[in-house]
């Protein structure tokens, strides 16, 4: 942290960081020394140590595994710990703003409780009985799809970038957001699960609000193909259940529970 002032080759990072809370605020400029390999989060820490000890920022692992340090860097939703400073032009002023979809607590920290409330509404895993020999048999090809969803680090960048709630606050009560479509998909495609969440998806979770414009997929730091692999497959299952009389008639083409 503080030793950044000693090392380095004289290069500097010019940052424009949002300071303030729900009552108001402004972008403030800071300049700190730049070391090789630094990421935006390192620079924020330098600002904390050298200029603004109370600069509020959320972070934990600094290795892209915990999903705490979400922010908007030059207007793009990103993990600060995975945004390297050398991806910007030398001398460029880099803007760091808090994520815009959730209420601001202070500086770069927002109140993400929306997500934790949505998580509580999801019908939990409900496994079928064990095999006759007392084991659980699942095969790799059956769980590959779901393991992709389990990579989610809950950084909520997909929730942040989703225009359904980002630009239309009034939709928040009726829309769960991409993170939770991924979660529901992981349960619906789980080879052991027996519950049915399609009605939930269509109604409470508001799957129909998604217009598949794919920003969630674009910002996902885990490169989960949120739209193609979870949202659209869920939309298709909802179609089978609610909008496709022929498929319902045939039955055979539907999901496990129809």
């Amino acid at each position: 942290m503080a030793e950044a002032a000693v090392a380095g080759n004289g290069a500097e990072a010019k940052m424009r960081v949002w300071r303030g809370d729900a009552s108001g605020g402004e972008f403030r400029d800071y300049t700190v020394p730049l070391e090789e390999g630094m990421v935006v989060l390192d620079v924020i820490h330098s600002i904390q140590a050298m200029h603004a000890g109370d600069l509020a920022v959320r972070w934990n692992c600094k290795a892209g595994k915990c999903g705490s340090c979400s922010a908007e860097v030059n207007g793009k939703p990103r993990l600060m710990c995975m945004t390297r400073m050398n991806t910007f032009e030398p001398g460029e002023t880099i803007t760091v703003a808090p994520i815009q979809t959730f209420p601001l607590v202070r500086d770069l920290v927002t109140d993400v409780s929306y997500n934790y409330e949505k998580a509580k509404t999801i019908p939990p895993f409900k496994p079928k009985p064990k095999e006759a020999d007392g084991t659980r048999r699942m095969y790799q090809e059956d769980i590959d799809r779901v393991q992709e969803f389990h990579k989610c680090i809950e950084c909520y960048l997909c929730q942040d970038v989703c225009h359904v709630i980002r630009d239309h606050n009034e939709n928040k009560p009726s829309f769960a957001g991409p993170r939770f479509f991924v979660r529901v998909a992981s349960l619906e495609m789980h080879p052991l699960d027996t519950d049915d969440r399609l009605e939930f998806l269509r109604n409470e979770a508001g799957l129909g609000f998604c217009n598949i414009t794919k920003c969630c997929t674009e910002v996902c730091p885990e490169h989960i193909k949120i739209t193609d692999n979870s949202i659209i497959p869920m939309k298709e299952r909802v179609v089978t259940r609610f909008y496709d009389p022929i498929a319902r008639l045939l039955g055979a083409l539907g999901g496990k529970k129809s």
Binding site: N74, G75, A97, L104, H163, N171, I212, K256
Partner: protein, 251 residues
Amino acid sequence: MSTVAIDKRTLRQDTWWLEPMLVVLGLGCFAIYSTWAALQNGNYYAAPYLSPFYSPCLAINCEHVSVPLFGSWYNWSPAILILWIPGGFRLTCYYYRKAYYRSFFWSPPACAVRDAASGYSGETRFPFILQNIHRYFFWASLPILAFLWWDAIIAFNFGGSFGLGLGTLVLITNAALLSLYSFSCHSCRHLCGGGLNSFKAAPGRYKTWGIVTKLNEKHMQIAWTSLVWVGLTDVYVRLLAHGVIQDLRFI
């Protein structure tokens, strides 16, 4: 508590507007050309090539009848009889939805750029709730594909003798690209196996699903390539029919 008080449409500094602009240009040009071509009601057949905009040609007064379903009372352009199928298929396609919601509706124009409209109900209400019938268009496009392949095959038949012209290759490529487009579609992927929760129990469908999944990853690229190609195919046949150019014969 309120969200951060930044009153800009976006803080992005890159050329986020470029992509929606190109899409408007691309889709706009195609829409204008295809409407014009579909309303021409002529110059869509240059033996042995039938323009895909008019295939299958279902009216008795067609320049080249595929199946005579409609009698001589029908004297509008026969393209109208069938173009609603590929049109509807593309209109409800998951990729094109993304493309036009972004570029035409600005909903949103790009990621982390504010929506143009203040209200939003997505695909929960009419008319957009109709997007859910996408798979019916997929089914309906299958017979069309069959006709396009048939057209490609008879494009080897030059007045009873076997031949190969540039037009033949154009038609084959067209049928191939449109097939790739149809079979890489998200609905097709679902129907092949996306609805299953255990692949182990259905190895055949797992394999098919796997192939379609691979194709599906390229759905956007295939969508654009096939769109451009089908337009060019019509242009080629139309120019032949007008006599502006001559078909290049290899055999």
